[in-house]
Each structure stands twice: as C-alpha cells, then as structure tokens.
C-alpha cells in the first residue's frame, strides 16, 4: 500500500508541477508536438516511397508465349514443372482463348479491330504463362533456366521487360529519402530533448527548496525524481496527441491525391487507414521516450542523487 500511495502522490506532484509552470510546459509540449509531427510525416513519406517501389517491383514479370502447336495440357505440364523452380513466386496460365476473350473485351468498342478479328480464321494469340520471381535479382537466372529447360521447343518467345535500372534508381531515391528522414528525425529528437531538459531544469530550480526538504525528511530518490519523470512523460503524451491530431486531417486531405498519383489504392494497413493507430502509438511512444530521457538527464544533473 505505501508504494501505491507514494505512486499516486508522485503522479500528483508531477501534474501539479506541470500546471504551475503552464507556460513553460506549453513550450515543451509544442516543441514535442512539432517533432512528433515531423516524425509522423517522415514515416508517412517513407511508407509511400516503400509502397510505390514495391508496387513497381510487383508489376515486373516474365511472359512466356507458346507456339500455336502447344496444347493446353502441355502448357499445364510446363507450368507444373516451372513451379518447382525455387525462384518462382507465382505462375499464371492464360490460355489462348482466354487471351483472345480479354483482347476482345479490351477493344470491344473498336470496330476496326473487331472486323479484323472476324477476318481471321484461327486465334492469333498464344497461350501464355506469366511468371513472377520472389526477388528482382532472380529474373536473369530464371529466364536462363526456362530457356534451358526441355520444353524450350514449345516456347515461341520469352518476354521480359528489364525494369531493373529504373527500379534501382527508385531504390536509391527511396534510400536517400530514408537517410534524410533519419537525419531530420535525429535533429528534431535532439532539439526536443534539449528543450524538455531545460524546461525540467527550470522546474527543478524553482522547487529546489521543496526538494531539499524532501531529502531532509527522508524521501527516497525515486520519490524526488518521480514527479519529473511524470512531467516528461506528460509532455510526450500531449505532444504525441497534438501531432496525431494534426496529421489525421492532413492524411485525410492528401489520401485521394496520393493514391491517384501513385496509381494504386493505398492498402488498408497503411498509415492512411487502419495503420493510423500504429502511427499514433509510435508518435506518443517516441514522445514519451524522449520525455523520459530528458527527465532522466535533468534529474541526474540537477538533483545530485
């Protein structure tokens, strides 16, 4: 029980501290809020960069076109064989008929193409296997394996659009954004710690009499320290809440534009949807972390415990 009583008193003192120096506290909370907003934005930008690069990567595949002589059964056999390659992530079989159907649909309102198709007796399209690899770097090897396989005579053409150069460039940019982001986050993190530290330092100085008496009458160290930890934590929570409430409308505002720009629907798990909770937790969590670090430094240096 004494521990519980002390805990509630420590929390109480901390909050009273916060209120007594509301203007100071406000400064710390605002700086914390700005930092957490920057952190949140960096996380969002980083996620968008990741999403766009992985979307482009997902769009890379190898199309294997078969000769008209190859039967569906044979192609199915080839598919079964290729699925055994460890590099293969997925294989999609599009039969010649299905390909034609799709083609017709796509050009349904183009009378010229429709007419041309009617002229043709046989299906001009081939059966196709669309192969994706687990990793971008595996494509050259995969293509080699396909070419060397015993089914090679059945294959008319292997189509691989080499997007690697483009993707690598995109990766470099993503990495650049990330490095810059980390640097920015560190700068803002340090600023926050400094400002919070100074705020707490002032609070400690203004209460030094009280602290001296606390020590005189036998307060334990954590009892003296506790209120400042509470204060630091509170700055983190308030800062995190501020930044979350700033970022929420921002994300809602740019969501439509972002999905249009990148040409894909932002996944449910992204920060724009359900992932927003994660963003809130990260912001408040990091805020609390910085607050606690600041108060530990401040009490270490100015309480002489």
């Amino acid at each position: 029980m004494p521990t519980l009583i002390s805990l509630s008193r420590v929390i109480n003192y901390g909050l009273v501290n916060l209120w007594r120096h509301r203007l100071l506290s406000l400064t710390a909370v605002v700086v914390m809020g700005i930092s957490m907003s920057v952190l949140g934005l960096l996380l969002v930008v980083n996620q968008l960069a990741d999403l766009s690069s992985s979307t482009i990567k997902d769009r890379v595949d190898v199309s294997i076109f078969f000769t008209p002589e190859a039967t569906d059964d044979q192609v199915t056999e080839v598919k079964a064989e290729f699925e055994k390659f460890e590099e293969v992530k997925s294989i999609n079989f599009i039969s010649a008929e299905a390909a034609l159907e799709k083609f017709k649909q796509r050009h349904g309102n183009d009378p010229l193409i429709q007419a041309t198709l009617l002229e043709l007796e046989a299906n001009p399209l081939d059966s196709t296997l669309v192969v994706t690899a687990h990793d971008l770097g595996q494509y050259p090897l995969l293509i080699q394996k396909i070419e060397r396989s015993r089914f090679h005579p059945l294959i008319k053409e292997i189509n691989y659009e080499d997007n690697r150069a483009l993707i690598e460039r995109l990766d470099t940019i993503t990495q650049g954004i990330r490095n810059f982001g980390v640097l920015l986050a560190v700068i803002f993190g340090c600023t926050t710690v400094l400002v919070t530290f100074n705020t707490l330092k002032l609070t400690i100085f203004s209460r030094r009499e009280e602290i001296e008496i606390m020590r005189l009458v036998g307060a334990s160290n954590w009892y003296i320290r506790g209120p400042y930890l509470v204060e630091g934590t509170a700055y983190g929570i308030f800062g995190g809440v501020i930044s979350s409430s700033l970022i929420y409308p921002f994300l809602a505002f740019v969501e439509h534009g972002a999905s249009n720009f990148f040409g894909f629907r932002l996944p449910q798990a992204s920060f724009f949807h359900e992932g927003f909770w994660l963003l809130i937790i990260i912001q408040i969590g990091v805020g609390i972390g910085l607050g606690v670090i600041s108060s530990v430094i401040a009490t270490r240096r100015h309480l002489q415990i």
Partner: protein
Amino acid sequence: MIVFQKITKTFKSGQVVALKNVSLEISQGEFLSLVGKSGAGKSTLLALITLEERPDSGRILIEGQDLSAIKPADSFYLRRKIGVVYQDIKLLPRRTAAENVAFAMEVSGLPDAAIIADVPKILDLVGLKTRGGAFPNELSGGEKQRVAIARALAHKPALLIADEPTGNLDDQNALEILQLLLKINEFGTTVILATHAAALVNKIKRRVVTLEQGEITYDQKRGRYLI
C-alpha cells in the same frame, strides 16, 4: 545508539581538518549538547550522522549498523529514523504550518488518514495547536522553529538532531525551544543539540560534549559549557 570510532574528516583534500580522531558514544534516550565555536566541527559531526558527509577514516554505527555499508541511494532509510532541525528553518513558504508537517508525512509514504489524524497531535505537542492554518510569514521566529521541530517529529524518529535551532531566536524563545526539546527527549527520543549558546546549556545540566578544532576536549555527564 550512536557510536563514533576514531572519526577523521577533512575538506579541500586534507587542507582543512574538520574532525580529528573523534570517538564518542551516545546512548538511547540521551540528551546531548554539542558545543564549541563556529568551525569546531559540530555541523560536520551531525552531517556524518545524516550521511550528508562521509568520514575519511573511522567507523560510525547507528543502532549497530555501520554507516559505511549504506549506499548513497539507500541513505533515505536512515534519514527516516532521524529528525533534523536547522537554524535556517527551511519551511515551504506557500504551505501552512499544518501542510508543512503533512508534507513530511506524505513524503514518508504515510496514508492520508494517518496524516489527518497525526498532524494536529504533533502541532499540539510543539504548542501550535491553534496555528496550524498560518503560513510561515505569519509566524514568529520561535513559532517557525516549532513548526520545523514538528516536521522533524512527523515520521516519529528515534533521534532528533538540532543544529543551532535557537541561533536566530531571542532568549525567551530560545528557552522555550529548549524546553520543547527536553519534553521530546522525555518521550524517549534521543536528542543531539549543537549550539554555542552557553547560557542555555548550562541551565539544563545534561551531558555536554565540547569540540575544539575538530577534537573532543571535554565530555561531561552533567556538564557546563566551559569555553
């Protein structure tokens, strides 16, 4: 209760010798006056008991416990057994007399019910029954010192240390404070009074230990202040 064994304490890396080979034994329930000029080592001796200072050599035992075995972070356990009253009274200016006493009890982790019940009793003991609601600036010097004593007693210490508690008081008030300390001593609390007020010490005829330049020069059972 307290045993000093050959204690030496220096400051400024040995240049200033505050205590030189001091040995002293204080029993439970004793009232001891520690006298001597400013700089004789009185405050240093008291600071060693509250662990604000550590000796260069020698041992200090309180109730059989060797103080050198107590880590700085655990020193508050010891302080809770000891009540301290200083010349510069150190009350919280924005709290009433009762709140100042209550604050000490809060810090010791006592439940609210006990604080509400005990504060008036302690204030009554020090003769401030009706002054609990007054702020320090509304109290006289003697009254402030009584609040400080009440605060020092709040956690029911076995030992009360008073470092020049009458230093800023007129004779009448000083005498009253001394009588209060004697009354506390009668309840069984060991009291160590550091002072250079010769008249007071001579009046009470209790044990007097005289310090001169860091050394004990007299230790008298029913003593007088000799220098």
